[in-house]
């Protein structure tokens, strides 16, 4: 059985496709930094915080990591609206993605922090560095440098996860695809193209993040050691 693809929809819906791509990119970019910051804060809290805070943070991390993103999004978007806290679909999507990224980054960063030898922190203490200075100058850069490959993979997964947001009518790339196929009835063709676009986005994001990593970690740039 020969199947003939018909990709003419790309021309007729190029504006929609572009707007979908833009929205996907926005969702991703707005998610990564706050998600990473939240995750780092949670990693620190889970390691050094008072007991009650450790419990809360652990509950948050495990709760998020053991339930689907779709349910979290529905809960945020529909559930909170009923409780009187109505938020728009786009903010709801970003918040859900940030919360999600935070939980996963927290575990990654925790591994990074724990890989730093204790002697180094003692050395920092003996040089009269404050805890805050130690965190910024020694712990954070080293932890991030050690786990950045895992972080990059996680951020790419988050980019892919934005594809569910059309469920709350955030018309990102996947949602745009659905609209197009409901008009053209060429679902297969449409989603093959969309899959390729995501592939390109994932590759691009990976390149971008590696670029950022090389910029952020001078040792990596100089020695090429991933450790």
């Amino acid at each position: 059985m020969a199947y003939t693809f018909d990709f003419s929809f790309i021309g007729s819906f190029s504006a929609e496709i572009w707007s979908g791509i833009r929205l996907t990119i926005w969702l991703t970019l707005l998610t990564i930094l706050p998600g990473f910051a939240l995750g780092t804060a949670c990693a620190v809290a889970r390691m050094n915080g008072p007991r009650w805070l450790r419990w809360i943070v652990t509950g948050y991390i495990e709760g998020i990591r053991n339930t689907p993103l779709v349910i979290q999004v529905f809960w945020l978007f529909f559930g909170l609206a009923v409780l009187g806290a109505r938020i728009g679909p786009f903010p709801a999507a970003v918040i859900a993605l940030v919360i999600n990224t935070g939980a996963y980054s927290a575990e990654i960063m925790r591994a990074g922090f724990q890989s730093i030898p204790k002697g180094e922190l003692e050395a920092g203490e003996c040089l009269a560095l404050s805890r805050w200075q130690m965190f910024w100058s020694i712990q954070l850069p080293q932890a991030a440098e050690r786990v950045y490959p895992a972080l990059i993979s996680q951020f790419i997964l988050m980019m892919l996860a934005t594809s569910i947001m059309s469920q709350i009518s955030v018309e990102e790339l996947t949602g745009v695809g659905y609209q197009i196929q409901s008009i053209t009835f060429r679902g297969f063709d449409v989603y093959v193209v969309i899959a390729l676009v995501y592939l390109a986005l994932a590759t691009g994001l990976r390149l971008l993040l590696h670029f950022v990593a090389r910029g952020s970690f001078p040792r990596l740039r100089r020695l090429g050691t991933p450790l």
């Binding site: 180094e120 050395a123 040089l127 850069p141 970690f217």
Partner: protein, 257 residues
């Protein structure tokens, strides 16, 4: 260093207050008492070598001096700070007391220069130019003026240890502590580190060093302290090693050399 000569004259006159005074210091880890009443003074400009078997409490005594370990009983004065009293400003204390560990503990993500200038810039608030100047000065002191931009992993163990010494010196400490700084090094690298420490001693730096290098201890130390089972068992000048008074030291010297 101009301040050095001032310390020198003070120590020669013999009137200056000691930089470190242990009075009946005890230290326990849980039920295990590691220091069982230590009495010891270190005068400005003095070089004190702590020797003794592994587990005798040398590192613990050293770590008490810059308050890495709080003492359990007794009195301990360091550079005018009473460490047995609560509320000591530890960061202020540590600007006066440098320490170098057996395992270098350099920051691997920073270059040699950044390792050396991190604390001076953050704590002493030096600007970039001052920090750079300081780095070249202290790195020249340890013979590594040409490796400023290397990362620790590109250096040999001996070089890393010398960077660690420079990193401490950059805080302009009044007192330097060395804890078996050559134990992790191959014999051929040990010499270069000991030479740096010897030079510092000759320059009048006050220091307490834990070492297994008996010949070195005898050569640079004004005072050798033999610790045994958490106590100062015997102390005296370097000559003491040639003429031990106690069986324990005799045995230790016999086995160690």
């Amino acid at each position: 260093m101009t301040s050095m000569s001032a310390i020198d004259t003070a120590s020669l006159s013999g009137t200056a207050a000691p930089l470190v005074t242990f009075r009946g210091v005890r230290k326990s880890f849980g039920a295990l008492e590691v220091l069982k009443g230590i009495d010891l003074t270190v005068a400005p400009g003095q070089v004190v070598a702590l020797i003794g078997r592994s587990g005798s409490g040398k590192s613990t005594a050293l770590r008490c001096i810059n308050a890495l370990e709080p003492i359990s009983a007794g009195e301990l004065e360091v550079c005018g700070y009473s460490l047995h009293r609560p509320g000591v400003d530890l960061r202020a204390l540590r600007q006066e007391v440098g320490i170098v560990f057996q395992s270098y503990n350099l920051f691997p993500h920073l270059t040699v220069k950044q390792n050396v200038t991190l604390a001076p810039r953050k704590v002493r608030k030096l600007n970039r130019d001052q920090a750079r100047e300081l780095a070249s000065e202290v790195l020249a002191q340890v013979g590594l003026g040409d490796r400023m931009d290397a990362y620790p992993e590109q250096l040999s163990g001996g070089q890393q240890q010398r960077v660690a010494i420079a990193r401490s010196l950059a805080m302009r400490p009044k007192l330097m502590l060395f804890d078996e700084v050559t134990s992790a090094l191959d014999p051929e690298l040990t010499g270069e580190v000991l030479r740096v420490i010897g030079k510092l001693a000759a320059g009048g730096m006050t220091m307490v060093l834990v070492t297994h290098e008996m010949a070195f201890a005898r050569q640079v130390a004004d005072q050798v302290v033999y610790m045994h089972q958490g106590k100062v068992w015997e102390q005296g000048s370097g000559k003491m090693l040639a003429n031990p008074q106690t069986d324990e030291l005799r045995q230790f010297v016999g086995s160690g050399l």
